[in-house]
Amino acid sequence: MSNRANGWLRGTIVRKSGVSTASSTRTSTPQIQSTSTTVFGGGVKDASGRTSEYFSMEDQCPVCKSDRYLNPKLRLLVSACYHKMCESCIDRLFTLGPAPCPICGKILRKLAFTPQTFEDLGVEKEVAVRRRIAKEFNKRREDFPDLHAYNDYLEEVEDITFNLINDIDVAETEARIVQYRQENAALIELNIQREEQYAQYLKEQEDFERQEREQRAAELRRAEEEEREEREKGRREIIDKLETSDKDAIKLVARSRLEAMRRASARSTSSGNVLQSSSRLLRSRAAQSTVVPDVPHVPLQDNWYAYEDMFTLRDNYDDPASEAVRRDREGIMRAGGYRVEQAWERALRCAVAGLEIMPLEGLHSTASDPAAVPGAGGDVVMASA
């Protein structure tokens, strides 16, 4: 369906469904007529990665005024300044290099034209702007210390988006974006990676589920097959037995029925087990990877400082050993951070630690369970060196 005159587009566009002229002449309501996969950017892609191009009977090229009535193959593309024109105009104007837009005069290039997705070009622009912004302004709630900061950030993003859409203070807004990008380069990169990881995770999950479904279907088919075979075999057996044995026919039939039933029930329970275990495995793995909760910070996880009241450290002691340090005329000990108080504290701690422990009890419990020593909590105080 591609136009021979527009060969430059042909290589990049794959028409999924052709435009049926018969049906489009009947109706004049705007509709989405063609679905194409474009290689160059632009256009809004749906979930499967295709662009649905906007297309209506009232289409008319604003530059050459040719319309769909005279030229059913008319295809309008949108410029970077959000003006429409037809492929042949684009070809005519921009083949020789960048040239001004015939409507607003902005310099345009041929390859920067994109297919139109929405009837309203304002929407087209907004979608493009939002997509661009979302690529870089990708912070999440958890990147902020509190909800207030996050809301401020969201408001700023919306502000920037609004300015760009409505062409307010464009230069200043662009500067803001550049600044943001510089300040948050690492975080942006990180969030992109997180996004990718999440997509990857979803894909894996999906693949796994699909595999499981297929496996289950195969299992079911096999079970059916087995059952049929068995039934066949059972019937043959009965006939054989009826032929050869001289027992009561009714009894023989009843017994083989019973056997068949027992076999069937055994089969159903075993297949049920298989299904259940694989789904349980999946669930437990998912739970492990995502649902270990983060817990609030607890500064210290023992009761060491609960024994602080066993001694009081005084400001000064009559301590000849540390006299030189305390005098410290040069201030070198002070500058190095040495504190004689710490030495005193150590001496006192060593003296009082373990005071509460009964000697024999202490000896006994350290041998079996060091954590049971009251006051020590498994911690060992250094003996003075």
């Binding site: 210390p145 990180l190 500058a335 190095g336 030495a343 060992v380």
Partner: protein, 368 residues
């Protein structure tokens, strides 16, 4: 066989040595397991006899302090025994270390992950400090990470207990990039604050994914620090000009941390700045740090089991090399790790990292 030998033989039988997984100047590390339970362990065989003065200092330090410390965030020394002429330390087996995690560019860190690692580091350090032990060699490759994500302080080869008044301590400790200014100025009387500075550097490195203050020599280290944080004034750090090795290195203006750490929250920068205060007495303590608002603010620290970890393929080899205190295959002769001041401390791990790390900014050219 006397009683001591008998006891030793009994201990030795509890552990089985498997293959060798790393070698350093004073030790060889083997993968091993507990015979009774099959639990994985690392066995560090200290080479005795090579040194005329007996056992290497760091082996003694490691045994002396690890024997006494038992905490969730400190590596556990399970047993010590001797075989023939060697001393063997049986240590907890840990999968990887924080340096490998930081270097693995395929991993993405969330603010909550960094918070979780920092909380575990401070918890382990607080435990050492409350027992009056200075670690004196904190850096990412000494922070090992267990299979369940718990971070553990390791390598107590440079640790010592808090000095009694008037006793000098050596200032040639802590790997240069993580060494505070008071040690670079040659202070012989210092305190637990030296470890806090290292933690501050690690904190910054977690956010930047590259070492924060990579000085090329001790002099250059001071310059690097001052360039990043401004030259300290006498009011900011009273008495620092009197320190033994004080030399003026030039005046650099203060630049706000915010300029470099653009995405960090205010709480986060506040804690970082408190870890990197010049005056050691005003630097935050491990206990105060654990009570800092940063740890209580949202997002909550990530649960250790969910923290990012490198893919397990190579992790069986490298981390144990790290486990070994002096694992520095290129260095010759004994010596404490931080002692030869002009050597790049990360050399061994960079050699091991081959091509992949070439694109990483931290690989600097030190040849000239």
């Amino acid at each position: 066989m006397d009683a001591v030998e008998k006891a030793n033989a009994e201990r030795q039988r509890r552990w089985a040595k498997d293959q060798k997984i790393g070698e350093g100047t004073y030790a060889v590390v083997y993968r091993g397991r507990e015979v009774a339970t099959g639990r994985k362990v690392a066995i560090k065989k200290i080479k005795v006899g090579q040194f005329k003065d007996g056992l290497d200092m760091s082996a003694i330090r490691e045994v002396k302090y690890l024997r006494e410390l038992k905490h969730q965030n400190v590596i556990e020394l399970l047993d010590v025994f001797s075989s023939k002429m060697n001393l063997n330390l049986v240590l907890e087996f840990l999968d990887t270390d924080l340096e490998l995690v930081i270097k693995d560019r395929s991993l993405v860190f969330l603010p909550a992950d960094i918070k979780s690692w920092m909380a575990m580091t401070f918890r382990g350090l607080e435990f050492c400090h409350r027992n009056f032990i200075l670690h004196r060699d904190l850096k990412p490759n000494n922070l090992l990470i267990a299979a369940d994500g718990q971070l553990k302080l390791a390598d107590f080869g440079l640790a010592r207990d808090f000095a009694d008044p008037g006793y000098k301590m050596t200032c040639q400790v802590i790997t240069r990039w993580y060494r505070p200014a008071e040690l670079l100025f040659g202070s012989r009387y210092y305190s637990t604050a030296v470890d806090i500075w290292s933690v501050g550097c690690i904190f910054a490195e977690l956010m930047l994914r590259t070492p924060y203050l990579p000085g090329e020599s001790d002099m250059d280290q001071l310059k690097t620090i001052f360039r990043a944080l401004g030259t300290p004034t006498e009011e900011e750090w009273p008495g620092h000009t009197k320190l033994p090795d004080y030399v003026p290195v030039g005046q650099f203006p203060k630049t706000p941390l915010r300029d470099l750490f653009t995405a960090a929250s205010a709480d986060c920068l506040n804690l970082l700045s408190k870890c990197l205060i010049y005056e050691p007495r005003r630097r935050i303590s491990a206990k105060e740090a654990l009570n800092h608002p940063y740890f209580f603010a949202l997002p909550y620290p990530t649960h250790p089991s969910k923290l990012p970890k490198p893919a397990p393929k190579r992790s069986s080899l490298l981390p144990l090399e790290e486990l070994d205190g002096n694992a520095e295959p290129n260095s010759s002769g004994p010596g404490v790790k931080a002692n030869p001041p002009n050597k790049l401390k990360r050399k061994h791990s960079e050699d091991g990292m081959n091509e992949r790390s070439k694109s990483i900014a931290r690989r600097l050219d030190f040849s000239q």
